[in-house]
């Protein structure tokens, strides 16, 4: 039976400075509880929301990136429900039931070869955080931290167009990269992107899966849910329309609440936030829109002759794509792409490391140039790169001071080869008998030169050394 899977993705706009409706910091992390608050985000009597225009802009960028339409006028609604993490006991969000009013609707995105439709994208405020503390279940205390309350959040809702956990994974990875690429969110921050899923099997009730902490677990939870529902149907057990939660320890979904009618949120217009006329904002934004990952990937393969695999990795991460573009020349594209994807990405795998990196793109270009001219070996390049990232020293200085330049003086290499072979007299005969030993000797020579010797010249030197030995040996 075919599964139909839809997702609801909540993405914090972490790149913004302030919350959605007040001047408190959007980045609430690493702060003492209830210190990033003001009358507005605490919902104190008399306070009013003031819309953050940058949040609207960023949300529209997401809508554009997902091929959504945006209405001429945006409006906000109140979603009324009681919960301790909700300072006003309503959430300011967006709604399309009275006609399109959300930042985006009816979009579409290619996931592998499948089109996944985007129903809508809405801008809303994050609630606070509930923290349970206490020694045991019995004397549990419920604490609320409002630092997060009012943080700008975008909810992306898809149609149930995915069919497998694999589709879910690919879709989420695409979202992750896209949100980073357009500068909407730093997805690596804890809690920056959360997703819920709904799963149904042809003609049966829909089940929602909530409170899954990671994308990886969501994929597992969807897989589990498809299996559970399939089993139920095979055993003619009706599938309840319900919400289930992912139990991380047992790796199963469990029913969150019993069957109940839909909560009535008594939605109505938030009059404190005047309607926003978009005008030609979308056209303006579209002009300044960062190149999409897919376009960039295509350009890398088509124009720069980079392999599709390398282009995929390089294009999906804006930080590295930027370095690549600014250090690139018509000659160095492939070599540069390789060193970025194999060496530099390993050195700078976190955003923090990227921010701390002292590597300039011109210097990186110099390093790649030297490699291509064989003035430095791959091994030396790697070690120079480390130092450039860490200390910001210039490539030339490093080469000069630490002597990382390639040893390509023929007499020096011959000398080096001679000294290695002489140190292990048995080697010559082994090498004469088996080509494998030649590699072994090469390894020793490279090691002795600290990776600086030109490998091709070393190989030639060993060959000619062995040839001379062959000539010396009596014919048999």
């Amino acid at each position: 039976m075919k599964a139909r899977i839809g997702l609801e993705i909540h993405c914090q706009l972490t790149t913004l400075k302030t919350k959605l409706f007040c001047g408190c910091r959007a980045d609430y992390r690493k702060m003492d509880p209830n210190t990033n608050v003001c009358p507005t985000c605490l919902g104190l009597p008399g306070s009013l929301p003031r819309l953050n225009g940058a949040a609207v802009k960023t949300a529209l960028l997401i809508a554009i990136a997902l091929g959504c339409k945006s209405p001429d006028v945006l409006s906000f609604f109140r979603k009324n429900y009681f919960y301790p993490d909700l300072p006003k006991n309503y959430q300011i969000t967006q709604l399309d039931i009275y006609g399109p009013a959300c930042v985006g609707h009816d979009g579409q995105i290619k996931v592998d070869d499948r089109d996944v439709r985007i129903s809508r994208i809405q801008l809303e405020e994050d609630p606070g955080r509930i923290v349970y503390s206490g020694a045991s279940e019995k004397n549990l205390e419920t604490l609320v931290d409002y630092n997060r309350a009012g943080a700008p959040l975008v909810e992306i809702v898809t149609e149930p167009d995915m069919e497998s956990p694999r589709d879910v994974r690919i879709f989420l990875n695409l979202m992750h990269d896209m949100l980073e690429n357009i500068g909407a969110s730093d997805a690596s921050l804890e809690g920056a992107i959360r997703a819920d899923a709904n799963v149904s099997l042809e003609g049966n009730n829909k089940v929602e899966i909530k409170n899954v902490s990671s994308f990886h677990d969501l994929e597992k939870a969807v897989g589990y849910e498809i299996m559970r529902q399939t089993n139920n149907i095979e055993n003619e057990i009706e599938i309840d329309k319900e919400t289930r939660q992912w139990d991380e320890k047992r790796r199963i979904t469990v029913s969150a609440r019993s069957k109940e009618s839909d909560t009535d949120y008594r939605y109505f217009l938030e009059h404190d936030v005047p309607w926003i006329e978009i005008g030609n904002a979308c056209d303006m934004l579209r002009k300044d829109m960062p190149e999409s990952i897919a376009t960039r990937r295509q350009r890398y393969t088509a124009e720069y002759g980079i392999s599709d695999q390398v282009a995929e990795i390089l294009s999906s991460q804006q930080y590295f794509a930027r370095i690549f573009e600014s250090a690139r020349t018509d000659e160095n594209s492939r070599e540069l792409a390789n060193i970025i994807t194999t060496d530099l990405m390993g050195l700078l795998e976190t955003r923090q490391k990227q921010a701390d990196s002292k590597l300039g793109s011109a210097e990186l270009g110099r390093l790649v140039g030297a490699m291509m001219d064989k003035r430095i070996t791959r091994t030396s390049a790697k070690s120079a790169l480390q130092s450039m990232v860490r200390d910001g020293r210039s490539f030339d200085d490093i080469v000069r001071e630490s002597g990382l330049g390639t040893v390509d003086d023929e007499s020096k290499i011959t000398e080096l080869v001679g000294s290695v072979i002489d140190s292990e007299p048995g080697l010559v005969n082994q090498a004469l008998a088996s080509p494998k030993a030649v590699h072994y000797i090469m390894g020793l020579v490279m090691k002795k030169s600290s990776g600086r010797a030109d490998p091709e010249m070393v190989r030639k030197a060993i060959e000619s050394y062995l040839d001379s030995k062959r000539n010396d040996a009596p014919d048999q």
Binding site: L42, L44, P45, R50, R266, H271, W275
Partner: protein, 490 residues
């Protein structure tokens, strides 16, 4: 003490500037009067004795030749649903009995910035729901003209304070007539500006799409002076932003043309809003005559005040109240009530059961009218009614090229305590003339015009959007012909 407390704000400001009036003496005399009469009248729920220190500062500044601002140390009463840093803002509800706001409302901030001195917070119906102050949790205010009568509401305390000379002017809030109704019952001027003219930042929300801060004073010019000091765009309230509205000038001078008269202007007489055989109705007719005498043309107009406009008003305000008051869940503010042993929702229900009867009534209504399955029949229908009413009023204004519409503020004279409190529907009807301006966002003002059986009668003028300065000019003209003069004898 010979200080004449009955002067207008305009007279007071001139007197202070010229050194003829001592701010300290005036404020001390005001506080003395509060001390003497307010135990009975109950206009105030809290009084700030520090006001005297501020007044001394104003006198010193005058002596030193420094600017004392447009309000020059004038003593104001502020409705207790408008926040002032460091003082209690109770909304006259037990729920906020001990709530102290950490910030100033923009209107308070601007009032102080122009030299105004707040002498106290004034009484009101709980959370501004009511029109008699009988729903004030800490007891009602009394009408100074006849203490057996209600002073009107919900800004009853603000009206009583101005009328009884316990302050020179006051701020209230007007959701369905809550400034104009008590102004009419207490014989003073009460003004609700165009929606968005005064910042609502710091006004505790009840029905946020409808309500405005309002100004109460002894003359129309006084209202203009206060408007000049506190109106205009506020970055803390997006609904005051010019670009989202008509683009009209948001800070016009409200007093420059105030004596310009009404020569050649067209006034629409809302003939379906009154019965000429009543004292109130005949007063309105005389006001129309006064307009004609002043050179305006008066034409009869018809506006549908049918039950649907009041019904739509109550549906919308209840829906918004249900949401705006949801935050009073007794977790962050409220009364002492242990949480042990309650499930979350059960606790909130129990805590909220201590809200007063009118608030409870509107919360229940507010939970119902926008709910799934009922929104179409009530909430959405009310929204349509509101749009239809707006269109209808626009049409009436356009057809007659009207400068304003004239009607009674309240259809009846001030009535006795207890007379109508048990009949909420009858009470709702008292709003039938005033809600129009709230539902359509228009500016509207009640001017004391006549007296009957020792009780004041106010007439109401409603203008078109953003015509506030012109409306004050028209109101000033009619106030000059007012048959009602002076303050009540206490």
């Amino acid at each position: 003490m010979s200080t004449d407390l009955g002067i207008t704000l305009a007279e007071y400001v001139r007197g202070v500037a010229s050194g003829e009036i001592s701010c300290e003496e005036y404020v001390v005399a005001t506080l003395d009067r509060i001390e003497k009469h307010d135990a009975k009248l109950h206009a105030y729920v809290s009084v700030d004795a520090d006001a005297v220190e501020a007044a001394k500062g104003v006198d010193a500044a005058v002596r030193a030749g420094r600017d004392v601002g447009a309000l020059a140390g004038a003593p104001f009463g502020i409705k207790d649903n408008i926040c002032m840093a460091g003082t209690r803002t109770t909304c006259c509800s037990w729920m906020l009995e001990d709530y102290v706001s950490p910030y100033d409302a923009t209107v308070v901030d601007r009032l102080s910035g122009s030299g105004g001195i707040v002498v106290g917070k004034t009484n009101m119906d709980e959370f501004a729901m009511g029109l008699t102050t009988e729903f004030a949790a800490f007891g009602p205010s009394l009408n100074p003209w006849n203490t057996e009568c209600v002073p009107g509401g919900s800004s009853g305390g603000s009206a009583v304070a101005v009328s009884a000379l316990e302050c020179i002017a006051s701020l209230g809030s007007d959701t369905g007539g809550s400034v104009r109704n008590p102004a009419s019952f207490c014989g003073i001027v009460g003004y609700k500006p165009t929606y968005g003219r005064l910042s609502r930042y710091g006004l505790v929300s009840y029905a946020n799409s409808i309500e405005q801060v309002g100004i109460m004073a002894r003359s129309v010019e006084d209202v203009g002076i206060v408007m000049n000091a506190i109106s205009g765009e506020d970055k803390m309230d997006d609904t005051t932003r010019r670009d989202v509205r008509s683009g009209a000038d948001h800070t016009p001078d409200h007093i420059a043309d105030i004596d310009g008269g009404v020569e050649g202007m067209a006034v629409g007489l809302d003939v379906d809003s009154f019965d000429e055989s009543t004292d109130v109705g005949s007063a309105v007719r005389r006001a129309a005559d006064a307009f004609e005498a002043a050179g305006a043309t008066v034409t009869d107009v018809h506006i549908d005040h049918g039950p649907s406009s009041v019904a739509s008003y109550y549906v919308l305000t209840a829906a918004e109240a249900g949401s705006n008051l949801a935050r009073y869940d007794n977790l962050r503010y409220g009364y002492d009530m242990p949480q042990e042993g309650y499930e979350y929702n059960a606790y909130i229900s129990r805590a909220r059961s201590r809200l007063g009867p009118e608030v409870t009534r509107r919360m229940i209504l507010g939970g119902f009218v926008p709910s799934a399955g009922h929104a179409g029949k009530y909430y959405l229908k009310a929204l349509k009614m509101r749009d239809a009413l707006s269109a209808q009023v626009d049409g009436v204004f356009a057809d007659g090229n009207l400068a304003c519409i004239l009607s009674p503020t309240v259809p009846v004279l001030p009535f006795k305590f207890g007379e109508k409190i048990d009949d909420p529907v009858e009470l709702f009807r008292m709003d039938s003339n005033t809600v129009l301006a709230n539902l359509t966002g228009r500016p509207s003002i009640s001017v004391p015009f006549a007296m009957s059986s020792g009780l004041p009668i106010g007439v109401q003028l409603t203008g078109s959007l953003d015509s506030d300065a012109q409306l004050l000019r028209i109101a000033n003209t009619i106030h000059a012909s007012s048959e009602s003069k002076g303050a009540p004898q206490l």
